[in-house]
């Protein structure tokens, strides 16, 4: 929970950093899927995150659990980006840091904004096939076979590598790093830190400046009703509910209700 309004009225952006430092749940599923693929088929796992400096924490965590290296993209110019520029920035970093990648795994959505847009847009940026909301995947030579539920259809899909999938939170059960593993891993994690200049990105093409969408305002959404508050023992409240609203309930459930009711002692 964020108690402070995470809204920066000066720059007109959400201050995601207030909630940062914890791995996004769906990304933990994507990472778990990567571990399972590595165990079955081999490969190197590189984790990439764009965020404030403290986002490095999630890369430590991922490395501690078994990722081979991490890349942190951090730069004041990158801050406040929408999904359009986020996918652009991530794509340029992937091309620079691991141009020979086989598979890009994303979470299906983030827990704060939950647009679910970065994955599909990243596939466009990298010009590779992409499939969202994947629940199961298998790799055969250079072909990935995937299953997912899409609008009441169970779909089985295939694509050739390189490709991108976004993984749902139903796909697997992410492991958690044990404390001792975390401590030893903090010794020498292989993490590179890159800014906009390292990626050859002009400030006006990234972050809040480069974003086609602009946030005008953010406000709390609580609606209030004039209501009746009932307190006391459950039994007493139930009696009160039927006394006051018995007719309404009877109408909705299309059953007659006894109006004068007295509980009989057995």
């Amino acid at each position: 929970m964020v108690s402070e309004l995470p809204w920066d009225s000066k720059t007109g952006t959400l201050r995601r950093d207030l909630a940062e430092g914890m791995m996004n749940p769906a990304c933990a599923n994507a990472l778990e899927a990567a571990f399972q693929i590595k165990r079955r088929y081999g490969g190197d796992i590189i984790t990439i995150t764009m965020g404030p400096p403290m986002a490095e924490e999630v890369l430590y965590e991922a490395t501690a659990m078994g990722a081979d290296r991490g890349v942190l993209l951090t730069d004041p110019y990158m801050a406040g980006g929408d999904t359009f520029v986020t996918s652009h920035t991530l794509a340029r970093a992937i091309e620079k840091e691991c141009p020979d990648f086989d598979l890009v795994l994303c979470g299906c959505h983030t827990s704060d904004s939950e647009t679910a847009q970065v994955g599909p847009q990243l596939a466009e940026e990298l010009d590779i096939p992409g499939v969202a909301y994947v629940e199961q995947l298998e790799i055969n030579n250079r072909t990935v076979r995937m299953q997912r539920l899409s609008d009441n259809f169970f779909e089985t899909l295939e694509m050739d590598l390189p490709g991108l999938v976004t993984v749902t939170t139903q796909a697997n059960a992410p492991r958690y790093p044990s404390l001792s593993v975390l401590e030893t891993a903090f010794g020498k994690p292989d993490i590179s830190i890159l800014g906009a200049a390292d990626l050859g990105l002009e400030p006006e093409t990234i972050g809040v400046q480069g974003s086609p969408t602009k946030i005008l305002d953010v406000y709390s959404s609580t609606a209030k009703k004039k209501n009746l508050i009932m307190k006391g023992t459950a039994k007493k409240i139930v009696d009160e509910v039927f006394e006051k609203f018995g007719d309404r309930i009877s109408g909705a459930i299309k059953k007659d209700l006894k109006t004068h009711y007295h509980e009989k002692k057995p």
Binding site: A123, Y133, T156, L157, M159, P212, L216, R248, I249
Partner: protein, 333 residues
């Protein structure tokens, strides 16, 4: 000056029509917005055998329908449809494109936006026109307790996805007339690099929670899977359906298709009984059409309690047991 008439486009997502009516809902919203910027409302449809949908969209307010029909478009295809919509948008330059936030729409719209080099706001719960004639996109953000107002000032089209159930459709009207623009499929349309191997429709449930007169919704405050089960007994007694919040679905207390909220079903029962739910906007966005809400929460200040007609301060599970008992005793044999 651009002499072409401005247009608001609605992507025709018909795969789960009749259950999924988001396209009709977006046509209604587009009709509400269009006069403010003197625009026409258009639907865009890809597939095969689309005549019934073309007629339906016109009867629900589409003034123009662009149709690309071809047997190679029979199955929904994210990549092919994205290329098609990109090309059409480049040809006709709509002001705005609205897409239903179905699973397909949520994967398809970001790719179209990217290809067109424009912005996209996800899961809008409100759309308005600003004084400057821009599309004001209102969407929940930051875990749901905040709403953000978003615009796309310098890029066109302005794009937004909207969850099914957010807007009300206009009643079917056979008198309405619309122009149908049939376009040939382009010869150089690339094959989708993702191949559809199998496609099986999931069985529909009998009574749909969307139509149930009574919905019993449970949240994390029910405490455990075992206690949550009581809600099914209560719903059975009342001829209603059980829904729940996302934590409850994630915990496996309830099937995913019974999720109530922005990411799930919108409900409009005569009575909504809400047990142990805090009332995050992603949940309550889908319960605003309930006629009468009884909320049970041990915290009297929970948002759900403020939104309820009757706010019962009690343990959710205990109150459920007492209510079942009270109902059983009162229901006339």
């Amino acid at each position: 000056m651009n002499t072409k008439k401005r247009a608001i486009w609605v992507f025709g997502d018909y795969r789960n029509y009749f259950q999924n009516r988001v396209t009709l809902q977006l046509l209604a919203k587009a009709n509400d917005l269009a006069p403010k910027i003197s625009a026409e409302v258009c639907a865009v449809l890809f597939g095969q055998g689309l005549d019934q949908y073309v007629a339906e969209y016109i009867a629900h307010g589409a003034q123009k329908v662009y149709v690309v029909e071809h047997r190679s478009l029979k199955n929904y295809s994210v990549e092919k449809y994205a290329v098609l919509l990109e090309r059409l948008a480049n040809d006709y330059q709509p002001e705005t494109i609205l897409v239903g936030a179905t699973s397909f729409g949520k994967e398809f719209a970001p790719r179209v936006a990217k290809r067109l080099g424009t912005g996209l706001t996800a899961d809008c719960i409100g759309l308005k026109i600003t004084e400057d004639g821009l599309l004001l996109q209102i969407a929940p953000s930051f875990g749901g307790n905040l709403l953000a107002e978003i615009i796309t000032p310098n890029h066109r089209p302005q794009m937004a996805t909207v969850r099914p159930g957010t807007f009300q459709e206009i009643p079917h009207n056979n008198e309405l007339r619309g122009e149908v623009v049939r376009l040939p499929i382009q010869k150089d349309l690339p094959e989708d690099r993702v191949r559809l191997i199998a496609n099986e429709r999931q069985a529909q449930r009998d009574q749909r929670i969307e139509d149930a007169p009574v919905v019993v919704c449970g949240g994390r405050g029910m405490g455990s899977k075992k206690k949550f089960k009581k809600l099914f007994d209560l719903a059975d007694l009342m001829g209603g359906e059980v829904g729940g919040t996302r934590p409850v679905v994630y915990a496996g207390w309830l099937d995913t298709d019974a999720l109530v909220g922005q990411a799930g079903k919108h409900i409009k029962p005569k009575i909504l009984l809400s047990f142990g739910i805090s009332g995050a906007i992603q949940h309550t966005a889908a319960t605003t059409e309930a006629d009468f809400i009884i909320a049970v929460n041990k915290n009297p200040n929970a948002t759900m309690m403020k939104m309820a007609d009757v706010a019962v301060v009690a343990d959710a599970s205990q109150f459920c047991t007492a209510l079942i008992k009270g109902l059983k005793a009162r229901i006339q044999a």
